[in-house]
């Protein structure tokens, strides 16, 4: 039984790195607190089809890292490539799942999921794909409802469908289930694992929850407090499909969880999970 390995960035890649973050730094200037050093020489390679979870204390720059990958934020040092292309702005290869679903309340669930196609001007041949996505997420009957008629979990499922609408290679998820209650959250984790296994996207997921990170990730990346850098890059040697009933009894689980907790507790403002 392989004990969790602490390695730095260049863990043995299963395939070519689809996401390549090399010595990326970020400093931004705010009106209130002057210049903030958010990220410090972050190195992270993610192979195609891999599921990587990032945990770190609040304000450690993990969201900034995701925003830079999504092309929503600039980076001011290092190298950031997706599929060997330097990130210079938003890309159709990337789907973003936002915190708290971020659906547009004036559009039906179906229209929300179809939005990425509408914006690209790709109106044709989209209907079957949207129906299939809604069906897969168990939202088949709710296409004509409005977001406010759905539960939080269903809203975020629609948010994931929306991110998948353009069939991107990469899914970036910024604390997607943070607003949900614990039970719904576990169910959503199961769903996401199922979706990931069905679609084989490359996923980078940011979370506060150690159990969520271990449950979902092939690797769990632990970040330090600001300026964020990578403290550890841990493999999760637990076979899939995983379930919450069995995962806690897996010998690696407790070891990983306590190691991550230890790393985070050494930081100020450790998360409470």
């Amino acid at each position: 039984m392989a004990a969790p390995q602490v390695s730095r960035g260049d863990s043995p890649p299963r395939a070519r790195p689809l996401i390549d973050i090399a010595k990326v730094s970020k400093t931004y200037v705010t009106a209130s607190s002057g210049s903030v050093h958010a990220l410090n020489k972050v190195d992270l390679k993610i192979a195609e089809g891999e599921f990587v979870c990032v945990v770190g204390p609040s304000g450690c720059g993990k969201s900034t890292l995701l925003r830079m990958l999504a092309g929503l934020d600039t980076f001011d040092g290092g190298k950031l490539t997706l599929d060997d292309q330097t990130v210079s702005g938003p890309s159709a290869k990337v789907g973003v799942v936002f915190q708290a679903a971020n659906l547009l309340p004036w559009l039906t669930v179906r229209e929300n999921v179809r939005l990425p196609l509408r914006v690209g001007g790709r109106h044709d041949a989209a209907n079957a794909r949207i129906d299939a996505l809604l069906e897969m997420a168990g939202l088949g009957e709710f296409g004509r409802r409005y977001p406010y008629e759905l539960s939080g979990g269903m809203q975020q499922r629609a948010g994931i469908c929306r991110a998948l609408a353009r069939d991107p290679q990469i899914l970036l998820m910024d604390e997607p289930f943070g607003a949900l209650d614990a039970l719904t959250r576990e169910r959503m984790n199961m769903e996401l694992q199922r979706i990931w296994q069905a679609h084989r996207k490359t996923i980078l997921l940011i979370t506060h929850s150690i159990s969520e990170a271990i449950f979902l990730g092939d690797r769990v990346v632990v970040m330090s407090a600001r300026p964020g850098r990578i403290l550890a890059d841990l493999q999760v040697p637990i076979p899939r499909p995983r379930s919450f009933d069995t995962i806690v009894s897996h010998p690696s689980y407790a070891k990983l969880a306590s190691e991550i907790r230890g790393l985070l507790n050494a930081q100020e403002g450790a998360p409470n999970d």
Partner: protein
Amino acid sequence: MTDIASRPVISPADVVAQADLSPDAAMQSAVEDAPSQPRKSGRSGVNGSVIAGAGLVVLIALWIFCVRVLRVPPYIMPAPEAVLNALWSGLAIDPASPKGYYLPLWSTLSNAATGFAIGTGLGLVLGSLMAESRTVEKLLMPYAFALQSLPKVAIAPLVVIWFGFGDGSKVAIAALLAFFPVLINSFTGLRSIEPEKIDLMRSLSATRFETYRIVKLPNAAPFIFAGLDMAVVYALLGAIVAEFLGAQQGMGVVITQAQSVSDVAGVFAALVILGVLGIVLHSSVRRLEHRVVHWAHRGKR
């Protein structure tokens, strides 16, 4: 006080006083009565109408008390029957008759509606440009506020000089009054968009216009409707103020004519009509808003 406005054209100072008094009184009643209106369709439907009805009964009872018991003379406050008579004689009449309310009402309403369309349209377009561009905002915002701080009734005579005594000046003043609430509300609404929604559109490489149309404009809709709600009543007020300055036809003319022959009951009757009209217009905008901006009323279903 009875011979202030004997002819359509009178001194501007008087017009200002007049214009500020009468239509405002009508507007006031419209604004105060109105909030009970939309509630009719909401949860507390029965309560809302009961309260509104009870208020009306108390108001009329007070009125009768003033006239009968306190013996307020009819040239100051006519009896309810006299006002009802005047209303009836104007309403129970051939719609084409020049003595009825229908022709002047139509004239005032169509001018107010044209002014409303122009003013709110301009308000939305300029509000959008100001929200989208800091340069346009910096350029126009001071003038928008300068314009708003001028008493519109004081610029009214100037507008009459520019647009004449025909429909043009009525439409222009109605548009002028309807413009500002929509300008400011659409500007505020468009700027109030959550950054996450802009991030969403950016992540999809949406064009500026797509972001405006799909995200910003719907997001601003509740604000814009609040502006339209004010604008619709202001447009009516503007048309009537313009009519006080001189017009062939309109409710403003009905009021000045009744005043010129000391027909206080006639003035009251016209004010009642304008008040009811204000309530109707306001509640139509509210109803339209509930249909269009349904997501903002999710708790009230």
